[in-house]
Symmetry: C3
Subunit: 303 residues, 3 copies
């Protein structure tokens, strides 16, 4: 497994405090872009909050990858409030940092309320993440936050060969969103797009299994336009890359904010499926991940 992926998995960037990931990406892109096929324009800084935009060539589409993760806020009297939808299990280890120093503690469940067991009070509003633990074998990677470190990884691999297109690193996706609207406004004013692919990780279910290929989502809580799905499916079929079709009635992604944006932009979620969703033991097939990378490269050349 590449060093890049391991590096990505070690960075904390809970929704609201994504800047450690932004900083990492800026540095990585700076170091690596000379080896990329096309040199992108890179946009970041206070006008983009903690987001990052890369423009390659003459874009007609974009790939969105969220850089935030689920986690917890500390409240009063050792209470924990979720950020996004983490699985809240007795004993899960959390880490963070407040004005008094580093924090490592466990979740204590009491009457369905969550508390931490840190021996001192933690500053109010401190953001805590799952402690990271990465396991890789021949078939699988298992770690916290594969959702959406793998989506970021996919984007960075795509950057190596991308000729035309935006790559957008968004924030707050796990907690209701809010960055996609201003990213889309900037994109629309700079080089408008017709479509967006959502580079994110989905669920293993009775219909979507490990090793069966990258999942193309035909719907989640929201429904992409059939005409666009048909175009994607026809290209996916043509590519020969293993893929599987997902149909869900719930769940959302940055696609939601594209659907409700003031621009007529088609969208589709495409990503490897994971087991143990939103736990510290998210698990993805390495083969599915490779299919994801391959399909994005194929599609972004042809859509």
């Amino acid at each position: 497994m590449s060093k890049l992926l391991i590096d990505l998995l070690k960075i904390n960037s809970v929704s609201g405090n994504e800047s450690p990931m932004t900083d990492f990406l800026i540095e990585y892109i700076w170091k690596r872009k000379d080896h990329w096929k096309v040199q992108p324009e890179v946009y970041f800084g206070e006008d983009f909050h903690d987001c990052l935009l890369l423009k390659f060539g003459k874009p007609t589409g974009a790939v969105f990858s969220h850089i935030d993760t689920i986690g917890f806020s500390t409240r009063y009297e050792n209470q924990l409030i979720p950020i996004g939808g983490p699985e809240i299990e007795q004993g899960t280890r959390l880490i963070g940092h407040d004005s008094l120093g580093p924090i490592s503690c466990k979740i204590i469940l009491n009457d369905d309320f969550a508390f931490h067991d840190f021996p001192r009070a933690i500053d109010r509003g401190t953001l805590l993440s799952f402690e990271q633990s990465i396991t890789i074998d021949d078939e699988f990677i298992q770690a916290a936050y594969l959702d959406n470190r793998l989506g970021i990884y996919n984007c960075l691999k795509l950057c190596e060969e991308l000729e035309n297109g935006w790559v957008a690193f968004s924030t707050y996706e796990e907690h209701g969103g809010g960055s996609v609207p201003y990213l889309l406004r900037f994109i629309n004013e700079n080089a408008p797009i017709k479509f967006a692919l959502i580079s994110d990780i989905t669920w293993v279910t009775e219909g979507v299994q490990h090793h069966n290929g990258v999942a193309i989502s035909l719907r989640d809580k929201f429904i992409p336009r059939k005409k666009f799905l048909e175009k994607i499916l026809s290209l996916a079929e043509e590519s020969g890359i293993p893929y599987q079709l997902e149909v869900e009635g719930s769940g959302g992604s940055d696609g939601r904010e594209i659907q409700f944006s003031p621009y007529p932009i088609d969208w589709c979620f495409i990503g490897a499926p994971e087991d143990n969703v939103h736990t510290p033991q998210e698990k993805v097939s390495l083969k599915d991940l490779q299919n994801m990378v391959d399909l994005y490269k194929y599609l972004m050349k042809r859509l």
Copy 2:
């Protein structure tokens, strides 16, 4: 009853795949507009996805009518997932089409989950609609999808006499929306509006009954501005056209997306009430429908 209405009722256009209705409307408008009082500019195509916009004269307002319907997506293992909020009843007949051909099946309920009974697997993500069955007598029309074929019908009747105003055919209304934002942006950049009427069908309740006139909604989940409601009510009273006042605490329409748009646009939902909402047997008084058509013509001249 007019052939137009029957034609409209026979077209399938579940949210996400409204293009059959768009195609019908384009053809209908093309054939009929020479007989209209004012020739509109007609906007459609990929920049509007499956929506359609007509601009008559110098608009200060718009009428919105959604062209999508509720329905179902097929999932895995014969499961059905709702699109919008259909009533899910044992034995309801559904139709559709996948790669292997036409589909006609029934809903089977099992432990509150919905399945189809089609003898073969249906392609994942296939969109299914209620089978249509139209009954008309002297007083009522009964059919699937009166919501919102009657709203479209109302708009097309309005087009015959409209001198100034936008007519907007929107998509995705039954499933959370998403087209109104880009339609409003286009409208605002082309010929901005101060108000919008929502041409849609509402509910028969203890306060809103068949044959008592078109319903003017004073609120649903959202609340129009009192100043605008007062203007509408004063014109409705002056018109002599039968109407009734609706007050609901839930439900929504394209009015919701106008309320939350970045433009200060007043809105009001005005439509005939129906019984058996979101079933294949929606039922509307023909008299109420005629009152709806008459009131829209009256209001769009004077607002």
Copy 3:
């Protein structure tokens, strides 16, 4: 307590019908602005619906204060439907006005449904408010609608000294919002901002108590950006003004619409805490209110 605050508390402006408050503010601002340090540009009228915008100097930020209140709509058969989230208690007195004259009635609860006891039918869709009753002693003010009359009061006190910044009086906040998007669009086209403070009233809880200072909210249902919170906290600390830190998992404000706007604008909710939230007996510490006024003046000079 100032006459201004008493005047504000006596005005009815339920969501959807905020114009009485708008009219009061226009008149107040007209009379008083000559005494203000900087003369603002004042924007109102039909292009702003019932909102009001003041631009002081060269703004980089804004303060938002909502001018609507919770209340009730009358439905059929003496039913009441809530507007926003009022506490619905047996016997609470409500007032309003319909075509037949003034209304004063009580809430009757029956099987969890709310009715009024007015001896005649009330016009459908009439807006009712809590009857006002104001009590002030050395420590506390108690009245209906401190949320958000105190937020408005805070803004008007700020106006006396504000040199650079927008002050925005928004509508519909209690009932889902809808005015902030067009206010932000106007602001962005006229004099864009980097940040917004939400001048509103929050809750007394186990962690936020009367007399402990104005509450700075580190999160509610939504999460401001950590970088911006740190700037606020550092200025608050430096100011010497008493404040307390709030951390909630639910609740929202105009900050929500700023978060989801198409502009990269940081936001933070800062306001005195109240007891008996959304009842006719909301209660706030006068000291906390003064701290709120002082902190806004301090921050708006330095952010």
